[in-house]
């Protein structure tokens, strides 16, 4: 599948589909298996300085055409994570370390450790919508985003990706603040919640969660398109991709590669290989030599 090769956010991928952060990427064996089954790279679960157990279940709710989650950033802490990366890297494909923190200093510490562990790039989680003091709370402040990105770019040698939130009034100002990064990753989950009428209660233990899956594809596409069109940044698209058509829409909206998360639930593990096959047939039918010829072609 040589013509599915892409260069995206400073790294080379044999296949353009990347496992999104937080889905089947806490355990190194899981990442390895998904990489061997057709993902071009894997982003780890977001890792912080200290370990966290996350929230009590219910931490996910099926909403019909999507998933709401409020995991609460469970993670073993950066010092306990090197083994999982080593395990995942046995697949011979890039592993990207996702990290979260509340200030530039901590982000830098995490990125340096990730770099030591051998990741191909770091992805800054500036967008988790459901944990106080992290994620969106950091990522909706352009000055802070700018500071974090430039601190990292000035200190580490591997590429830096900034993962942004759709839950903002003005994506362009945030994306602009992150423009020193090697790629912006759009989008994290959309704020939402679920209520049970028999329990008369929110379902998620955290009440609020983040919506992912097919439901949010139009939202992600729009933000990718807008940021690419207005700012010309390098983009990795994510949000509701479950078929090769979805992936192509993101490419045509301006993404250089794409990530898949919730579709591992809705479509199963075969999702990456099916997307690869579908992209290949489309390219064959319409005489497209390399996927990147289609990047941004829908922008007008």
């Amino acid at each position: 599948m040589s013509h599915l090769n892409v260069k995206a956010g400073g790294i080379s991928l044999k296949e353009p589909g990347i496992l999104a952060s937080g889905i089947l990427d806490e355990n190194g064996y899981s990442m390895k298996r998904i990489l061997l089954e057709g993902a071009g790279a894997a982003v780890t679960k977001s890792i912080g300085i200290d370990g966290r157990d996350g929230y009590n279940p219910p931490v996910v709710v099926e909403t019909g055409s999507g998933i709401l989650n409020a995991m609460g950033l469970p993670n073993p802490g950066i010092d306990n994570f090197s083994e999982e990366i080593t395990l995942a890297m046995k697949a011979g494909k890039p592993v990207i370390g996702s990290i979260f923190a509340s200030n530039a200093n901590d982000f830098l510490k995490l990125a340096e450790k990730m770099s030591d562990y051998g990741v191909a790039a770091v992805e800054l989680n500036l967008s988790c919508p459901h944990v106080k003091g992290f994620g969106t709370e950091v990522g909706s402040d352009p000055a802070l985003v700018k500071e974090i990105v430039s601190t990292l770019k000035g200190s580490i040698s591997i590429p830096v990706w900034a993962k942004l939130s759709p839950n903002v009034t003005d994506i362009l100002s945030i994306a602009n603040a992150a423009s020193d990064s090697d790629a912006v990753v759009l989008i994290n989950t959309v704020r939402g919640m679920a209520i049970d009428i028999y329990a008369r209660s929110p379902i998620l233990t955290n009440r609020y969660g983040g919506l992912s899956g097919s439901s949010i594809k139009p939202v992600g596409l729009r933000l990718v398109y807008e940021v690419r069109k207005e700012l010309g940044l390098e983009i990795i698209g994510v949000g509701g991709i479950s078929t090769w058509q979805d992936a192509l829409e993101y490419i045509m909206a301006g993404s250089s590669a794409f990530q898949v998360g919730t579709a591992l639930w809705s479509n199963g593990r075969k999702v990456f290989s099916e997307i690869n096959q579908g992209l290949e047939s489309y390219m064959k039918e319409f005489g497209v030599g390399n996927l990147m010829e289609l990047r941004g072609v829908a922008i007008r």
Partner: protein
């Protein structure tokens, strides 16, 4: 998606185990499970211990959530989602059902005249569903020797001809499964294990239940002995709630 059922009746099985019966118009196969939500507490995986028109949860009290389930009574509502997971393979002929702790729950729907049980517990009070087997077909193993063989579960296999069973089903804590696995390994192929790991999502997304890249909630919980054999993590390491790799 979250569903609700009404409790028809509750039965006390042992001092620490009780069953909740309810109607639920959904097809469930032995070995599958549901995620049971107790608002204000947590959401936990539970096998169906009855899979006909009338369904049943058989619960062993460990912590807050299972204790909260114990306070429910006839007419109360249970919130659950599922059924999830891959069922046991059904076979014709003689079967051996091996369970420790609440492990017998998922196997109760498999009990018939041709099945033999190895039921293990600390003491006779805690033996679960031993009396559901045909007379003489339940081999009891207790740690204190209060009923049947004194010892741990592997002792129950001693006088059995393994090859005479079309299938051996095993469910219980991973340490127990691992002990049985080591004993059966190389001796017979028709063995299925139902694995138990901590589960947060139940639908194959969160990675908390994974063993060797397999999501137990989706690709399991039942696995054949040849699948289990290839699992480097089985019986050795697991991730704790935070995702930290720990040893059994």
């Amino acid at each position: 998606m979250m569903q609700h059922v009404k409790i028809l009746r509750k039965e006390i099985e042992t001092p620490t185990v009780f069953s909740l019966y309810f109607h639920w118009d959904v097809k469930v196969e032995p070995g599958q499970f549901v995620m049971v939500w107790v608002p204000g507490y947590s959401e936990v995986p539970m096998s169906l211990s009855s899979t006909g028109k009338e369904k049943c949860l058989t619960v062993k009290m460990y912590g807050d959530t299972t204790k909260a389930l114990n306070s429910l009574k006839e007419g109360d509502i249970i919130q659950l989602r599922g059924p999830y997971g891959k069922p046991f393979t059904r076979v014709k002929g003689k079967t051996l059902l091996v369970g420790g702790g609440s492990g017998m729950a998922s196997m109760r729907p498999l009990i018939n005249e041709e099945s033999t049980g190895i039921v293990a517990a600390r003491g006779q009070d805690e033996l679960l569903f031993a009396d559901d087997f045909s007379k003489g077909n339940a081999i009891c193993v207790t740690e204190d020797g209060s009923r049947g063989i004194k010892g741990i579960i592997t002792a129950g296999f001693e006088n059995l001809d393994l090859k005479s069973f079309s299938m051996i089903y095993i469910c219980g804590p991973e340490r127990m499964l691992y002990a049985v696995f080591k004993m059966l390994h190389g001796k017979t192929e028709n063995v299925e294990f139902s694995l138990e790991r901590s589960m947060k999502c139940g639908i194959g997304l969160c990675d908390s239940c994974s063993v060797d890249g397999f999501q137990i909630c989706k690709e399991g919980p039942t696995f054949s002995i040849s699948e289990v054999e290839k699992m480097g993590e089985f019986g050795k390491t697991r991730l704790d709630r935070s995702g930290k790799r720990v040893f059994f």
